[in-house]
């Protein structure tokens, strides 16, 4: 399978898991937010999956990101859209090593942080992303393949996601409600983990 098809399959897998989890995400966002996270992520990935899929894997992801951003709207539309656009832009030409992927993941994460001005522990999607990307980097440094590094980093992402339960939101809509968000997992951290896991399954299956 060529890399752009693989990228496209990852986007399809993300769409599938988000559609499946939409009610759960809506519910999580209604505790201290406005309940639209599930619908927004679904709109975003529907548009991403319908975007033009010509060009390199990086281009496919970047175009998906643009479509995502426009369709989803909201904080997560801007953030995830920016992330995907930067990720795509970071994946130049043929991508063969986990090191290459890690460098693109870091760039995308930096762009997201610059846009949203949040940091680790603020109870956002970054609490999934940052530990995932760090673990991915460690695996990549130790010479793991892309699917192996991805698969190996998921546990860190999951732990990060789960840690948001005990956090008080410092960014985004929920920040106003402070302690009210305690005890509930962050919707963005949750959706991002689901997407990472779904992408990991595609990589495992398609690049054995």
């Amino acid at each position: 399978m060529d890399q752009s098809t693989l990228a496209a399959q990852c986007i399809d897998a993300a769409l599938a898991i988000i559609l499946e989890k939409e009610p759960e995400l809506a519910q999580l966002d209604s505790v201290a937010g406005d309940g639209d996270h599930g619908a927004g992520m679904a709109r975003g990935f529907r548009a991403a999956a319908a975007a033009d899929r010509t060009g390199t894997a990086g281009q496919v992801i970047a175009k998906a990101g643009m479509a995502f951003s426009d369709a989803a709207g909201g904080a997560s539309g801007a953030l995830v859209g920016m992330y995907l656009m930067t990720l795509g832009g970071g994946l130049q030409g043929d991508v063969t090593t986990a090191i290459q992927v890690h460098s693109a993941l870091v760039k995308a994460q930096d762009a997201l942080m610059k846009l949203g001005k949040a940091k680790l522990g603020d109870k956002t999607m970054l609490d999934t992303l940052i530990p995932f990307t760090e673990a991915f980097g460690a695996q990549a440094g130790a010479g793991a393949t892309i699917p192996a590094a991805w698969g190996g980093a998921l546990d860190a992402g999951r732990a990060g996601m789960e840690s948001t339960k005990d956090m008080v939101a410092a960014r985004g809509r929920s920040a106003v409600l402070k302690e009210r968000s305690l005890g509930t997992q962050d919707p963005g951290a949750t959706s991002v983990y689901y997407v990472l896991r779904a992408v990991g399954e595609v990589l495992q299956r398609e690049c054995p």
Partner: protein, 330 residues
Amino acid sequence: MTKVFNNPVDFKEQMIKGFTAAYSRYVERIPNAAGVMVKGGPTPGKVSVLIGGGSGHYPLFCGLVGKGFAHGAVIGDIFTSPSGEQCYRCGKALDGGAGVVFSYGNYSGDVMNFGMAEMRLEMEGIDVRQVLVTDDVASSADFDSRRGVAGDFFVFKVLGASAWRGDNLDTVEAMGRHANAMTRSFGVAFGGCTIPGQPQPLFTVAQDKMELGLGIHGEPGVETSDLRSASEIAGLLVDKVLSDVPAGAGSKAVVLVNGLGATKYEEMFVMYGDIHKRLAAAGIDLYKPVVGELATSLNMEGCGLTLMWLDSDLQALLDYPTETPAWTNV
């Protein structure tokens, strides 16, 4: 419950179509964008004001587009900021050559999306200014971190009037910032709203409780309390708003008691009697009070109090004639 819809996924687009069909005498669709603008578009050589945000807050935002008020509104999905792309397209369509002011409630999604649009428009040589509304005293001790609620109405009104009477971009922006600096709100909720297609309201409030410091996006309040009488709620709203009188405020203020959707006019009038008395007793000269629905949250049960303290500048702009689908004054 929200009961009237077709496919929830198409809700926004169908809403815009219905809105523009009903109010074609005031507004037109911005081509290729999720937005509307005053019939005929921007006036060449004049500043335009673009307001916007998620939908579910009618008459915010599109209901306030028209002569004397906002030139356009960019429309997001229910409770969801419009995307940077849509803000960009609407901003671009609204530029009459003298620059565009973006104004919206201070929510991180809106800040990011309008911010990205501003960057793109500035790159194209369009001068863009941003006036964020931060009137909700419940949402933060820090003024600039507060979210925007019903104060949107007054800030937009001032911005629109300033632009329509022909002020330059600096002045329009300054008037809007001044209006925001002089505006304070506080609200309470008695029940949550339901997003179209969802089986449950976003939150529920026990029959004998109320939420203090609610948002206008179906977020619960910052605190739960026992349900109080209309007089006690009036006292609470007045106390909270007056706990943070803006620096430099005079004695005159325009007053809004705003319903969120399912707390109705008669209830608000009962409460307003006490609000009026308490504000007057606090030495406030009440100017043209309004009791109505100017910033809703679908069918949420709740209401809030907003004051904008006036000087002669703000009063003149507030009184500037407007004709829009949801608000006309002569």
